[in-house]
Structures are given as C-alpha cells and as structure tokens.
C-alpha cells in the first residue's frame, strides 16, 4: 500500500512540474502570435490603404496607357513593360551565375581560408545598401563599358543585387542533402559532375527556386540603383519588341533602349503636387505589392510541392 502511495506522490510531482514548464510554452506562443499578428496587420493596413486610394485607377486602361501630363489618362504601360524586360535580363544573368557559383563553392572549391573569405564576402554582399550597387553600375556599366542608361545596364545591376541571395540559397539547399545520398551515387562510379547534375542539383531545386523567386521579388521593387544609373522618369514609348515578324523572329535592340520601371513611375507621381497623380501612385504601389506577393506565393508553393517528393 505504501508503495502505491509513493507512486502516486511521484506522479503528482511529475504532473505539477509539467504544468509549470508548460507555462513557458504558452507564453512563447502568445508572444509569437502577437508579433506575427502585428506584422500581418501592418502589412494589411499598408496594402489596403494603397488599394483604397488607387482603386478608381486600377483597370485595363491603367495598364495599356502611357504616362501623361493629364492624371486621368495616365497609365503604367511603359513602366510595367520596362520592369518585365529588366527582370528578364536579371533572370538570365543572375540565375546561371548564382546557381553555378553556389555549386562551385559547395561541391568543387577546396575548403580553406580562401573559400571562407569568399563565403563571408558573399554573405556581406547581401547586406550592402542597394544604392552602392547603383553607384558601382554607373561607374562600371554606364561609363566604363559604355552600355548606356539602358535596359541591359539595369538588368545587370539588379542581377548583382540578386546574386548573393541566389548563391546563399543554392549553397544552403545543397548542404541540406545528406552525405549518404552523394556516397550512393559515387559508389556506382559517377563523376563529380554527374553527381551534381543527376542528384545534387535536382534535390536542391526546391531551395534554389525559392532563392531565385525571392531575389526576383526584391529586384522588382528596387528603385535607388535604377535611378542612380539614370533610368528615365517620363517615357511615352516602348522599347523595340524582342519578338519580330521577320526571321530570325527576335532581336536584341531592346537591350539598348531607354526605359522606366514601376517603382520609378510611382516615385515620379508621388513627387507631383496634384492629388490625382497620388492616386496613380497608390495604384502603382498596389500593383507592385500584388506582384511581390504573387511571386512569394509561387516560391512557397514550389518549395512545398518539391519538398513533398523528397524524403530522407
């Protein structure tokens, strides 16, 4: 009997202890919920404010009209086309370079002080203010290389900005692949390149894609570096079309064209005194936020669906 009583006491002590410890669980979850909640509400208010202000302007004409002196007829055609073309350049420059650098640093480069140095620098690059990239691009691309204040220059500049994000996320994704998966591939006689191509790159794809899209989402909203390299603020024509109706059906003249992008268009309208232009700015802001949310949404969806297929 006394043994059972001792057992009961012991059990009650355990239960009291758990109750005490669980308090911390609850406190943390409340704090976490509060912080996340405030952030979500702040973003929501910001977004709703833009949408409510800009709502009368968000229609098809807004997307198909050039900017104009008259606020009622002004649209963002040249801005969204400019943004799209710049992002295309950014994508085709930053993705191959970033993924290749990530693979090289993680799989090929000898580990040592030099690799460490590069790693620290790449991580630092991600934190450099974007205006610095703009100044670098102005000196290097515009004046030194003579690329002019063109779509190409803007694309290259933004790809510099996006590169560290892609490199870091590629390396993280590669590092998450367990050693025994690589060993299994090497054990059947695969070369390093084959292991990289058939296994490492495929299994890391979820993380790599996430990095790419988050980098692109950052690039779409950047203003300072694009202003620094001298993007136009008022433009009422489109660059030459990348696709033509005569062979070879595409041309690269658009790369050299002048341009503007969405955030600059918004910046321009906001600095006007007339209230009607502010409505245009709000509408443009809403468009940018929707595009960013859309891209981040795609990134989450991709990561989720790719990770679901891979288990270790």
């Amino acid at each position: 009997m006394s043994k059972v009583t001792g057992h009961e006491d012991n059990l009650n002590a355990i239960r009291a202890l758990i109750k005490k410890h669980k308090k911390n669980d609850r406190i943390f979850s409340y704090i976490g919920l509060f912080i996340i909640g405030s952030l979500a509400i702040a973003l929501l208010i910001l977004f709703l404010d833009l949408v409510i202000d800009g709502y009368p302007k968000i229609n098809l004409e807004f997307f198909s009209n050039f900017p104009s002196r008259k606020p009622e007829g002004a649209g963002i055609l040249s801005a969204w086309v400019g943004s799209a073309l710049v992002l295309i350049v950014t994508f085709f420059v930053a993705v191959p370079m970033g993924v290749a650098s990530g693979i090289y640093l993680e799989e090929y480069a000898k580990k040592g002080w030099f690799a460490d140095l590069i790693e620290i620098n790449v991580a630092n690059l991600a934190g450099v203010p974007s205006i610095i990239y703009g100044l670098l691009a102005l000196g290097l691309f515009v004046y030194e290389f003579g690329l002019g204040q063109s779509i190409l220059t803007a694309g290259l500049t933004l790809s510099l900005l996006m590169l560290p994000i892609v490199i870091v996320s590629t390396r993280e994704a590669i590092r998450a692949i367990p050693v025994h998966i690589r060993e299994a591939a090497y054990a059947v006689g695969a070369t390093k390149w084959q292991v990289t191509l058939h296994h490492v790159l495929q299994y890391a794809m979820g993380g790599v894609l996430t990095g790419i899209i988050i980098g692109m989402a950052r690039a779409i909203g950047e203003t300072a570096p694009v202003i620094t390299i001298g993007a136009l603020t008022f433009i009422a024509f489109l660059p030459p079309s990348p696709v033509t109706d005569v062979a070879p059906f595409f041309n690269f003249a658009w790369l050299e064209a002048g341009f503007t992008v969405l955030p600059i268009q918004m910046f321009n309208w906001i600095s006007r005194p007339e209230h009607a232009f502010h409505i245009n700015a709000a509408a443009t802001g809403a468009v940018i936020i929707i595009l960013t949310l859309l891209m981040n949404g795609i990134a989450i969806k991709l990561r989720y669906s790719i990770r679901k297929k891979i288990k270790w």
């Binding site: 059990l11 202890l17 758990i18 410890h21």
Partner: protein, 258 residues
C-alpha cells in the same frame, strides 16, 4: 500463462492509423510484465516499431496520426493514449533508446544530465551523483569517468549507444523502450548491450524491438510475433521458440517465412 507475474502495462484493442490513413496496428492486445523483457519480432513493416513508439507517444509529434484503444500503465491505471494525458508525462515515465545512437553534440556529462535538467534539476551535486549512477548503470562509467566533459561524438558507436541508455536511465523510468538498439553495432558492442539489458531488468520493465531472432531468444522473457500490423502470437519466449502454437510463427522463426 504458467507463472503469475505483475502486469506493468497492457495494450487493449489498440489500433493505430498514420496520417495518410494506413491502418498500421490492428487490435493489439498484449501485457508487459514488470521487470521482464518483452521482445517484439516480425518482418520489416509489420508494425513493431510503430507499436513501440506508441508507448511514449512519439507519434504525437507528427500531425494527423490517430490512436484508438488503450495502453494502460499500472499501478495507477492510466491510459497513456488518452487525449487528456500529457505526452510529456508519459515520456517522463517511459523512456526510449533509438536504433542509431543519437547523442546530442554536447559533452558526455550534459547528455546524461539532460533528462534531469528538463525536470528543472540544477543542483550540481545531485546531478553529479545521478550522472555517475546512470553511467554505472549503463556500464560506461569506467570508460568515461576521466573525460566527462569530452564531446559525446568522440565515443565509439557502442559507447554512444550505452550513453543513450544512460541518458534514458538517469530519470528512473518505469519502462524502457529499445528500438533495434544493436542493429548499428558490432558483435562485441551488441553483447555488451544485451548483458546490460539483463542487468537493467532487475530494476525496470523493458520492451524491445529486434530483427535478430537469436537476440530475442537470448535476452527476452516474453516474445510477441507480429505480422502486417497484427499480433499473431504472444507467449513466453521459450514457448514461442520451441513449440509455437501458430503455424505462421513457426514458419517465421525457422526461416521458412514466405
């Protein structure tokens, strides 16, 4: 059952469904006798590990898994699967040793002390005593007493597994669960662990999953044969290995399974 033993725990009509709907365990009814070793044998995928892990509610860590039926823990008659019973309470009473040694990347001392720290114990002298006692109980003390602050990763595989046993032992559990504890170890380390378990059962109740039939025959008092999520036969180990009552059990233990 010939002998009368005290029942420490028993599963009653226990069913388990994984989140994807797989009906992994079907109507499992077995007792665990106090201070005895019960072995679970059966082919891969038969549900042995799933059953073992239910005993400390490991399945609660992943959303969507569902328990039905009861696992009653004596002498307080607590149904450890009950939603109202905190899984943490269950884990404080029933500890587990995993298939691969999984020490924390911390010192030997901190590995063993962790269970006590989780319980809020910070008294240095008491911790020292408990760590020594647990390491002695896991037959590891003589090998590590001069380097308690070394990283646990510097130990050999067999030593790491005994360290994990010491970690599970330090909190005085009522039942210890072993999930194929020797499958990643060499024969000598395996013998060490087996001897250790025979020593441990003087103090507590043991449930072990093993793929090694000789191991089950050597160390366990009772054996349960499982197949496709069902309990085919449960009896004293001698009976199971010499005159099993079911044809399937005999086929499996004689290697004719198929």
């Amino acid at each position: 059952m010939a002998r009368k033993e005290i029942i420490k725990a028993e599963s009653k009509n226990f069913n388990f469904h994984y989140a994807d709907g797989t009906h992994a365990l079907k109507d499992i009814n077995i007792p665990l006798y106090e201070k005895k070793i019960t072995a679970l044998i059966g082919p891969s995928g038969c549900g042995k590990s799933t059953f073992l892990r239910s005993f400390n509610r490991m399945h609660d860590l992943y959303a969507g898994n569902k328990y039905n039926g009861e696992i009653i823990l004596h002498p307080d008659n607590t149904n450890i699967l009950d939603k109202k019973v905190d899984p943490i309470e269950v884990r404080m009473r029933i500890s587990m040793v995993f298939q691969k040694p999984n020490p924390f990347p911390k010192s030997i001392y901190e590995n063993v002390a962790y269970g006590l720290r989780v319980r809020g114990e910070n008294n240095k002298r008491l911790l020292d005593d408990k760590v020594e006692e647990a390491l002695k109980g896991a037959s590891l003390w003589n090998e590590v007493k001069d380097r308690l602050q070394d990283l646990a990763y510097n130990l050999s595989g067999g030593q790491q597994q005994r360290l994990c046993i010491a970690r599970a032992l330090a909190t005085d559990p009522e039942i210890m669960l072993f999930d194929e504890p020797t499958s990643a170890l060499d024969p000598i380390a395996t013998v060490n662990i087996e001897e250790l378990m025979s020593e441990l059962k003087k103090k507590l109740t043991i449930l072990i999953v093993t793929h090694n039939m000789q191991q089950a025959a050597r160390i366990s008092d009772y054996t349960a044969y499982m197949y496709l999520g069902e309990m085919i036969e449960f009896d004293e180990t001698d009976t199971i290995f010499t005159k099993p009552s079911k044809k399937e059990t005999e086929d499996y233990i004689t290697g004719k399974f198929g």
